[in-house]
């Protein structure tokens, strides 16, 4: 191999296995300055981390989202968890799982005024750890859900948007609104390459205090992960299955055909242990 091309520019040594980058999304063959990260690789990492941090600390414009939902002809509530702000939310997961008193009151007042109706489905949207994911993906997912509910003739409660919410808060809301099923859309913990990943959680017969094993989850909903269409397809399968079998959680399996994330990265197997390499090395040593 030609020695010269390894020097990209002053002080940076590139790695002569650049070709392996096409096999993985991992940060391989970054090159080095001395043995440290080259400036470009360092700043690319910083940018990715900044994106993830900004997603965690982004604020959900709940009123705007509520207007967009009302424009679809649905009624909508905006409320808060018991966590007062982001710092408290991050340190007190227990508070993020429960509604604040004002929200509890407004939900129960409304429910009583309406004559304590029962619903087939409640939809809850919470910022979670990425308001950006909610901003970008909750409306198209909601539209697909509404279509499904119409097809199945399921009654829908008002949509509830919660600031500083965690997953379990959906169960409390579903129970407040006397809903048989609750679907919660929430921003997931951002990864360096996924600041906008939405998760969808689903509970049959929601009530406060249920554990994780009572819920089903569809994760990694974003353009580079699970598309809105595929995620909605899986969710529809789960909701129909739950509605028939009257349960959710670990006992409810996802029967939709195995949907994997589209990947343009091919798996060519273990190229490090191809037989000819082994033989070659054995004869050399």
């Amino acid at each position: 191999m030609n020695r010269d091309h390894r020097f990209l520019s002053g002080g940076v040594t590139s790695d002569p296995w650049d070709n392996l980058k096409r096999l993985t999304a991992a940060r391989v063959a970054l090159g080095r300055a001395g043995t440290s990260l080259p400036t470009s690789a360092h700043l690319e990492f910083q940018l990715a981390h900044a994106g993830a941090r900004d997603a965690v600390h982004s604020t959900l414009d709940a009123d705007r989202l509520a207007d967009q939902i009302r424009a679809k002809g649905l009624s909508c509530f905006v409320g808060n968890s018991a966590a007062a702000g982001r710092a408290e939310y991050l340190q007190r997961p227990d508070l993020g799982r429960t509604l604040d008193e004002a929200t509890i009151k407004s939900l129960s007042d409304w429910h009583q005024e309406e004559g304590a109706p029962k619903f087939d489905l409640s939809i809850v949207i919470a910022d979670g750890l990425s308001a950006r994911a909610v901003r970008d993906h909750s409306l198209p997912m909601l539209a697909n859900l509404i279509t499904l509910a119409e097809k199945e003739s399921w009654s829908l409660s008002p949509v509830v948007i919660i600031r500083q919410g965690r997953v379990a808060i959906g169960d409390e809301i579903g129970s407040q609104l006397a809903a048989r099923m609750v679907v919660l859309m929430i921003g997931e913990r951002p990864g360096l390459s996924s600041p906008d990943s939405l998760g969808v959680y689903f509970t049959f017969e929601p009530k406060s205090g249920l554990r994780d094993d009572s819920r089903n989850c569809i994760s990694n909903i974003r353009p580079e992960g699970l598309s809105h269409a595929l995620a909605s397809h899986k969710l529809a399968g789960l909701l129909r299955g739950a509605n028939e079998r009257r349960l959710s959680g670990v006992q409810l399996k996802d029967d939709s055909e195995l949907v994997t994330v589209d990947s343009d990265i091919a798996d060519i197997g273990n190229f490090l242990a191809l037989a000819d390499i082994r033989e070659h090395y054995a004869s050399e040593s």
């Binding site: 191999m1 020695r3 390894r6 040594t13 790695d15 002569p16 296995w17 070709n19 392996l20 980058k21 096409r22 096999l23 993985t24 999304a25 991992a26 940060r27 391989v28 063959a29 970054l30 080095r32 043995t35 440290s36 990260l37 690789a41 990492f45 910083q46 981390h49 993830a52 997603a55 965690v56 991050l90 340190q91 007190r92 997961p93 227990d94 750890l129 913990r189 951002p190 990864g191 360096l192 390459s193 996924s194 994997t260 994330v261 990947s263 990265i265 091919a266 798996d267 060519i268 197997g269 273990n270 190229f271 490090l272 242990a273 191809l274 390499i277 070659h280 090395y281 050399e284 040593s285």
Partner: protein, 469 residues
């Protein structure tokens, strides 16, 4: 009146029992606040530290923080307490013990002698009244040596676990990360994958894949695919090439039970791997991961502070002569360790307590994106742990684990620490790196080759051809 009383700041402070005293004396961290066991003020915290400093070490033998009858970890700790090893320090208070540890009279030999006489609660207690520099100074006196296909824990050495995770368990993606890491002199502690799947057949294939890489190039290292110990035992029964048996462990019986393990199951796993006799220079076969907050997260902390729970996990670990123990310090999230300051202190406490108890400690120096931490915090902890004599750290391409979605230390980071602190890889692995022409350390200067060794070069060419370039 029962409990502990301390005058401080013109006030009289009362701590109900040993558990409360330990919790109140713990430097501030979010997990203890979440559990409701933290001191209510900075003054109360220092008052508790003063009371703790006056407490005789012997007190821990008389008051189990979790009752003997209801917790098998408490029984393990008390039943295995070595009174003759304890004799050297048995007259000391916690405060005396700190002074002695820091003193020049306290030698590496002394520390080795007393380790089986120390209860984890004693280690946790003294760490609570130590500053970071104290934790570093005492830790670096202690060497905990273990061996399998190479030797860990020697003076002036720092190893890395090469962690080539892939979100789809793609074998070629894993191979690419392995080659990347080896070319940066990483992977002597182990090559260890966190699989995306829990399918036994898929995990078996990953074990075979790693084994063939280590075999093809005669790399003096060991491999691990991190799955539940019951799965690993089953894979051993199926004849798969298992070097190290992994398991997450914690410091209470209830927390271990939430992980689906018990002390007897850990013994079963150890015996299964020992029987394979795959080690060449030693037969330490267990690899444990721990982390502050795991007991609370399982609702299994019994009102104990998270750092004392963590130290008790090391008492579990040492019972099985592990090859390595890894405190995955920042992985659990900001509800347990909120920011860089808390993560850094916890990493150093864990390393210190583990080493004092005779455990071969390493650290996954890491954070998640919702913690108030960044690369600068990781550099600080890496440098301090390097100075402390940590047995190993992680090596991950570009510090970015694309499967577990968190940031740890990179291959480059390990070379930084090796250069700045004069640390070398495990001796067997260093020879291999040298023989392969990958890395040389001469007169303290570390140089990395600019070209691939012939067999790797052929592998890369083959991969390029296969991928259809």
């Amino acid at each position: 009146m029962s409990g502990y009383v301390q005058l401080a700041g013109g006030e009289r402070w009362h701590f109900r029992d040993l558990k409360c005293l330990l919790a109140a004396a713990t430097p501030l961290r979010s997990g203890d606040v979440l559990a409701g066991v933290a001191a209510c003020s900075d003054t109360e915290r220092v008052a508790a530290q003063m009371a703790l400093a006056d407490l005789p070490l012997k007190a821990f033998l008389n008051e189990a923080v979790i009752p003997y009858e209801s917790d098998e970890v408490s029984r393990l700790i008390l039943d295995n307490h070595d009174a003759s090893a304890f004799a050297l320090v048995s007259h000391m208070t916690v405060g005396d013990f700190r002074n002695w540890l820091l003193s020049d009279e306290c030698t590496e030999e002394n520390l080795k002698t007393i380790s089986t006489g120390l209860m984890p609660e004693m280690a946790a207690a003294v760490s609570k009244i130590m500053r970071l520099q104290d934790l570093v100074l005492v830790s670096q006196k202690i060497r905990v040596k273990t061996a399998f296909r190479n030797t860990m824990g020697l003076k002036g050495r720092m190893s890395t676990r090469l962690q080539p995770n892939s979100p789809t368990d793609s074998v070629s993606a894993i191979a690419a990360s392995v080659l990347d890491g080896l070319m940066y002199g990483n992977g002597d502690a182990m090559i260890g994958i966190n699989p995306a799947t829990d399918s036994l057949s898929a995990i078996g294939q990953l074990l075979e894949m790693l084994d063939s890489v280590v075999g093809s190039y005669s790399i003096p290292t060991q491999t691990c695919v991190l799955t539940h110990i019951t799965s690993t035992i089953e894979l051993i029964n199926r004849g798969k090439p298992v070097d190290l048996v992994f398991q997450s462990i914690a410091g209470t019986e209830a927390a271990n039970s939430s992980f689906g393990v018990s002390l007897s199951l850990l013994e079963e796993g150890r015996e299964a791997a020992m029987g394979l006799k795959r080690g060449t220079v030693g037969n330490n076969v267990m690899y444990f991961e721990t982390g502050q907050g795991s007991a609370l997260s399982a609702g299994a902390h019994h009102g104990l502070d998270q750092q004392t729970c963590e130290a008790r996990a090391y008492a579990v670990a040492r019972h099985y002569d592990p090859f390595l123990v890894n405190t995955v310090v920042g992985f659990i999230g900001p509800e347990y360790l909120y920011n860089g300051k808390q993560i850094i202190r916890a990493g150093l406490e864990d390393h210190f307590c583990g080493k004092l108890l005779g455990v071969p400690m390493g650290c996954d120096i890491c954070y998640t994106n919702h913690a108030e931490a960044d690369q600068d915090d990781m550099d600080t902890l890496l440098t301090l742990l390097g100075a402390s004599g940590v047995n190993f750290i992680m090596g991950i391409p570009g510090a970015d684990d694309i499967m577990l979605n968190y940031q740890s230390t990179s291959f480059h980071d390990a070379l930084y620490a090796r250069k700045v602190l004069g640390l070398r890889p495990a001796p067997e692995f260093e020879r291999w790196l040298n023989d392969m022409g990958i890395m040389q350390i001469k007169r303290g200067a570390l140089t990395v080759s600019q070209s691939l060794p012939a067999p790797f070069s052929r592998a890369v060419l083959a991969a390029t051809a296969e991928a259809g370039q």
